[in-house]
């Protein structure tokens, strides 16, 4: 494929990718109410589809460039921020960078995004403010593309918080329902906590590089960062910890906020309050993966901070396991999928933690396919049953064949059954973890075991979900059963497309044992730092094959157990739950995490707020009023004292003058002569006075 499009031409079209969805958002947002609904749908979907086409064109242009290390296009738009001073300057450009990593993400965002836009047309039919919905969805696509295509960290931060805003707007889309609005707010504030970490990391990075390079580094462009990153090692560590690690950890805090990892994941389960396509698009495929993308984009930083990498890996692994355990006991179909997303994200961070960047991205891509499919499937189920609770579903296999089939494809993929993409990417991660040589001896092996166990749990709770939803008899009451219907084609087409992708998806990153080229790894090569330990050194193929078999075994046992519990002997879960009542209850209540956070952060903050409010009201204001009262009293005192002493004297004086006045009054006789006399006397006296002296 010689380059169909010459790179220069493509470079000028880069800005179209994010700006088309932005245009769609503006049109729908401002004029939406007046446009007919069909036009709103068309504008919404078309803008994302066009962006997808341009991304594909970009992809091929990149492929066209032979020399792998030249495979990137940068389009600087305009000077964004410029402050100059003597020792240096801080200048940032608004520029888009298209390189293998960002084009992969672009394709996922626009491709899956378009399918979900299509699906939303069906799902949101009948909702009265569709224009606003599509405007927000397009705005989200714009922010995500901005995040992915940004060429410097601050512009990425703009996209980073932009997606946070859109997730807030979309989660609280049906804002008339107060608790949905609260979920939106919770999401935004938790994201904001993460962004705090991101921003501090950004500042620390800039100034360390600025001082290190004494003034030559002036911006945060990735190219500039990549070249000057060794300066971090020379910078003096703070509190004994190397600067690279500090920065890595701070960025990771941002990532946990955005990609819902252990400390800051609490907002994702509540985010299910938004419409299901939103959950599929934002809270499964794109936004939550921003954290992973950011770490992979800054791989050159993390590579020189092994401690930070270890932390990422551990947090990823633990989150994966932790979320999987909670998913076991959830009855709301969307919450199960939410926790499963957190768990899969944990896997991605595990992969990135062990420096298997391309594998992390590979799992990100495959996860986008099957998780979006799962959510959309759940969406069409909810659309039919009008409730999220799995206990009211069951036996939908008969009523919704298409949804069932596509759902099964995704189910098999996520559970890790061989040919499907889920298996390939997850196994690749386990393999990379097994081979990884993290600073702590044996940590790699421990994490691998944890990952394996989580894979089993994943298989189990996915089987539980499928069993409760599609198998057995419909538990949702007879009259509801009557009008159970398959979703319209506009909804099932995306399901099928995604099903194909989740089945075939595995092909782009085949493991070494198959002796076939790992397309994605080679494609991403130049972007990732050279010594990415993605396990392609010479190693015993038999070991990889053995591990693969083990993971297949674990997956099948998980499925069997799930089938056993929920299909063959439905009473079994009740007995098990009874025996481990306490443990079950803890899981069921999501380890009481929400309550702990409430007690640990929210309530003290509110107390502090109330305190400062009162403090301000009566202390400072009080002080001011107090001072006014004191001066008032003091002035009264002076007034009293003044009244008695000074006043007395003054009055006495006044008396004297009054008497003299009375005396002099007689002089004013009214006769003119007397006045003339006094005049003449006066003058005469004056003359005498002048004469004598």
């Amino acid at each position: 494929m010689t380059n169909l499009i010459d790179p220069l031409h493509m470079k000028n079209m880069l800005w179209l990718i994010p700006c088309l969805p932005l245009a769609g958002a503006v049109i729908n947002g401002l004029l939406g109410k007046r446009l007919p609904v069909r036009l709103v749908h068309f504008v919404g979907c078309a803008s994302v589809f066009l962006a997808f086409l341009i991304s594909v064109a970009g992809f091929f242009t990149l492929l066209g460039i032979e020399e792998p290390h030249q495979r990137f296009l940068i389009q600087p738009l305009y000077q964004w921020i410029l402050t100059v001073w003597h020792q240096g300057s801080f200048s940032l450009q608004v520029a888009f960078r298209l390189d293998p990593l960002s084009i992969t993400l672009c394709l996922v965002v626009t491709g899956v995004g378009f399918l979900i836009h299509l699906y939303s047309v069906g799902y949101m039919a009948g909702d009265e403010s569709q224009a606003r919905y599509f405007a927000y969805l397009n705005l989200f696509t714009f922010s995500m593309l901005l995040l992915v295509l940004a060429d410097n960290l601050l512009l990425m931060f703009v996209g980073w918080e932009g997606v946070g805003l859109c997730s807030y707007l979309l989660i609280g889309f049906w804002f008339t329902d107060l608790e949905k609005a609260q979920a939106g707010m919770k999401a935004f504030i938790v994201n904001r906590v993460g962004d705090f970490g991101f921003f501090v990391g950004l500042m620390l990075l800039f100034w360390t590089l600025f001082e290190g390079s004494n003034g030559t580094i002036t911006g945060l462009g990735f190219q500039q960062l990549r070249e000057s990153i060794p300066l971090l090692n020379s910078a003096s560590p703070i509190l004994g910890v190397g600067l690279a690690t500090w920065i890595g950890l701070l960025f990771f805090v941002g990532a946990t906020g955005k990609s819902a990892q252990i400390p800051l994941y609490i907002w994702l389960p509540d985010a299910m309050a938004g419409p299901t396509p939103v959950s599929a698009f934002i809270h499964a495929a794109t936004m939550v993966t921003a954290g992973v993308y950011m770490i992979v984009r800054l791989n050159f930083l993390y590579v020189i901070a092994p401690a930070a990498m270890a932390v990422v890996a551990v947090v990823g692994g633990v989150t994966a396991f932790y979320a999987a355990t909670i998913a076991l006991t959830q009855n709301d179909i969307k919450r199960v999928l939410a926790y499963s997303t957190i768990s899969q994200l944990g896997y991605m961070f595990l992969a990135v933690g062990v420096a298997a960047f391309s594998t992390g991205i590979f799992h990100l891509v495959t996860h986008a396919f099957f998780k979006a499919l799962l959510f959309l499937g759940a969406g069409s189920v909810i659309h039919a049953v009008h409730s999220n609770d799995m206990l009211e579903m069951g036996g939908l296999k008969k009523y919704m064949p298409h949804t069932y089939l596509t759902f099964m494809a995704a189910y098999l993929a996520i559970s890790g059954i061989p040919p499907f993409s889920g298996f390939v990417s997850k196994d690749e991660i386990l393999w990379a973890t097994f081979n990884s040589h993290l600073p702590v001896a044996g940590l790699g092996k421990a994490l691998w075991a944890l990952g394996l166990l989580t894979a089993g749990l994943t298989a189990f709770y996915m089987t539980r979900l499928v069993a409760l939803t599609f198998m057995g008899g419909f538990r949702g009451g007879l009259e509801k059963e009557k009008h159970l219907h398959e979703s319209p084609s506009v909804m099932t087409f995306p399901l099928m497309a995604l099903a194909v992708l989740s089945v075939v998806g595995g092909v782009i990153g085949l493991p070494a044992v198959t002796h076939l080229p790992n397309l994605l790894h080679d494609f991403l090569g130049p972007v990732l730092s050279s010594h990415g330990a993605s396990g392609h050194q010479a190693h015993a193929y038999w070991l990889e094959l053995l591990l693969m078999l083990i993971s297949i075994g674990v997956a099948t046992t998980g499925i069997y157990l799930g089938w056993l519990f929920y299909v063959k002997r439905p009473e079994l879960p009740g007995k098990v739950a009874a025996r481990f009542a306490k443990m079950y209850q803890v899981l069921e209540q999501k380890y009481y995490v929400d309550e702990i956070y409430q007690a640990l952060f929210v309530r003290p903050l509110l107390k502090l707020v109330a305190l400062s409010g009162r403090f301000d009201l009566n202390t400072i204001d009080g002080a001011v009023n107090l001072s006014s009262r004191v001066t008032a009293k003091f002035s009264f005192l002076i007034g009293w004292e003044d009244l008695k002493i000074v006043d007395g004297a003054v009055n006495g004086l006044a008396e004297i003058f009054k008497r003299w006045g009375a005396a002099l009054r007689h002089l004013q006789t009214g006769k003119i002569q007397h006045y003339l006399y006094s005049v003449v006397l006066g003058i005469f006296g004056l003359c005498v006075f002048m004469f004598l002296f």
Binding site: Q673, Y677, V680, L681, F684, C687
Partner: protein, 166 residues
């Protein structure tokens, strides 16, 4: 010869003054004032101030005195007023006047006035006065005119109010 004329005019000025001061009939006082003013005009001419003398006659006598006489005639209805205040008032006035007169006379005669050695021949002064008035003393001249205007308006106003009985 000039001394004689001079003494005549002095008498002409001083004697009627006593009538003005003491006479009980206001009309007599007014006419004696007329004679005094003529005397003074004569003295002016004697002092070489011919223009001032003529002005004195025209303005002072022709204008002001006529006005006063007019005023006297206007208010002369009914009984003749006892023209001076009771005795103690007069006595006090006389004593005061005497003292001041003595002081003035003393200063007039005692001080050595820097009299010009030779008295220049008196020439016609009106041209020179004209130049001075419109040259060096232009501003006082203008102010005097404004003063007269103001007095005119004031007089009209006061008179008008009194006539309407406000």
């Amino acid at each position: 010869m000039t001394d004689l004329i001079f003494n005549v005019f002095i008498l002409l000025t001083i004697i009627p003054c006593f009538w003005v001061a003491l006479s009980s009939n206001i009309v007599h006082a007014a006419f004696s004032l007329l004679i005094t003013l003529f005397g003074i005009a004569g003295l002016y001419v004697l002092l070489g101030a011919d223009f001032i003398g003529v002005i004195q006659v025209i303005v002072y006598i022709g204008g002001i005195l006529v006005l006063i006489i007019f005023g006297v005639m206007m208010t002369q209805r009914g009984k003749l007023l006892p023209l001076s205040i009771q005795l103690p008032g007069k006595l006090f006035g006389a004593v005061l006047t005497g003292v001041i007169l003595a002081a003035l006379l003393l200063s007039a005669t005692r001080t050595l006035w820097p009299v010009a050695a030779v008295l220049g021949e008196p020439q016609l002064t009106s041209a020179a006065i004209g130049d001075l008035l419109l040259g060096k003393y232009l501003i006082p001249f203008e102010i005097a005119s404004v003063l007269l205007l103001a007095a005119l308006i004031g007089a009209v106003l006061i008179a008008r109010r009194s006539v309407r009985g406000e």
